[in-house]
């Protein structure tokens, strides 16, 4: 799993280097992690499931064996987290 927070101080990690497995080219710099990568594994899996179900919360609730309002509340929490990350990014820029 891609770590997003520093294990030492808890600050948000950034990407420093990316490497091509085929030609060994290495790209270094300072890149922000995409918003989706900043979410927890559970939240990312939820978003994947949301897309696979074409955005149907009803189908997701049947699949996850949870009630519709529970699934909707999980989605609302993820939306709030994404908006929080977005506002932090805007403040940084």
């Amino acid at each position: 799993m891609l770590p997003c927070q520093c294990p030492s101080c808890g600050s948000q990690l950034t990407v420093k280097a990316l490497k091509c497995e085929k030609c060994e080219t290495e790209v270094t710099g300072r890149y922000q992690l995409p918003v989706l990568a900043l979410l927890s594994t559970e939240d990312q899996m939820f978003i994947l499931r949301f897309v696979r179900n074409s955005g149907s919360l009803k189908q997701m609730s049947a699949e996850m064996k949870l009630s519709y309002p529970t699934v909707r509340n999980i989605l609302n929490e993820i939306i709030t987290k994404i908006e929080s990350h977005d506002s932090k990014l805007e403040n940084t820029l």
């Binding site: 064996k65 009630s67 519709y68 309002p69 909707r72 509340n73």
Partner: protein, 200 residues
């Protein structure tokens, strides 16, 4: 095991919507029917009463009393829910209120252990003892006290279920949830009891 215990107080993460409302309606009717047989009535939001020996209500009136409580509670919780989220669904609120009647099955069964005629006779005995200057024999009231404690615990369980259902149905969090819930419940209790008193 922990998950099973959580379901007792918050089944709404698994059951909601029209399915939950239908199941809850069946439970509500069952509570009213068992209560009619055991001389226990359920007016208001979370009230459970065993009246003394008076002209007993018909099954229809027992159903009407609990129905008024359910509808008025659902209406006030729905209005409170809309203040949090316009996406609050009435069927989720209705499922919340009706499924919260599950603990009253036990309250209704407790009614079988308490005979209204015995209650009146015990109270008359105690009153006459007090009037005669004697120390009243409170051990006579033991079944009533135990029954009342059980009914009180079931009412608390029902309120916990109502609160959890309200939180899930509205997606609300924080202190504001508690205040809105309390306000809705108090208003529903007053209105439902007034309506019940006027109609029945």
């Amino acid at each position: 095991m922990t998950a099973n215990w959580k379901i007792l107080f918050n089944p709404y993460t698994r059951i909601a919507g029209w399915g939950g409302a239908a199941l809850g309606a069946v439970i509500t009717v069952a509570v009213a029917a068992i209560g009619w047989l055991s001389h226990t009535i359920f007016p208001g939001v979370v009230d459970a009463k065993i009246p003394g020996v008076v002209e007993w209500w018909s099954l229809g009136n027992c159903l009407l009393a609990i129905g008024i409580g359910v509808i008025v509670t659902a209406a006030f919780l729905y209005l409170a829910g809309l203040l949090f989220s316009r996406a609050t669904r009435p069927q989720d609120i209705f499922a919340t209120v009706t499924l919260a009647r599950v603990p009253f099955i036990i309250s209704a069964l407790v009614g079988f252990a308490i005979d209204p005629a015995d209650m009146d006779s015990i109270m008359q005995t105690l009153n006459s003892q007090v009037a005669a200057g004697e120390i009243p024999d409170l051990s006579l009231t033991a079944p009533m006290i135990v029954g009342s404690l059980i009914i009180l615990l079931m009412s608390i369980w029902s309120v916990v279920m109502l609160y959890n259902g309200f939180k899930v149905s509205t997606g609300s969090k924080g202190m504001k949830t508690g205040w809105m819930f309390a306000g809705a419940i108090i208003a529903a209790e007053i209105v439902s009891l007034v309506i019940t008193h006027e109609i029945i």
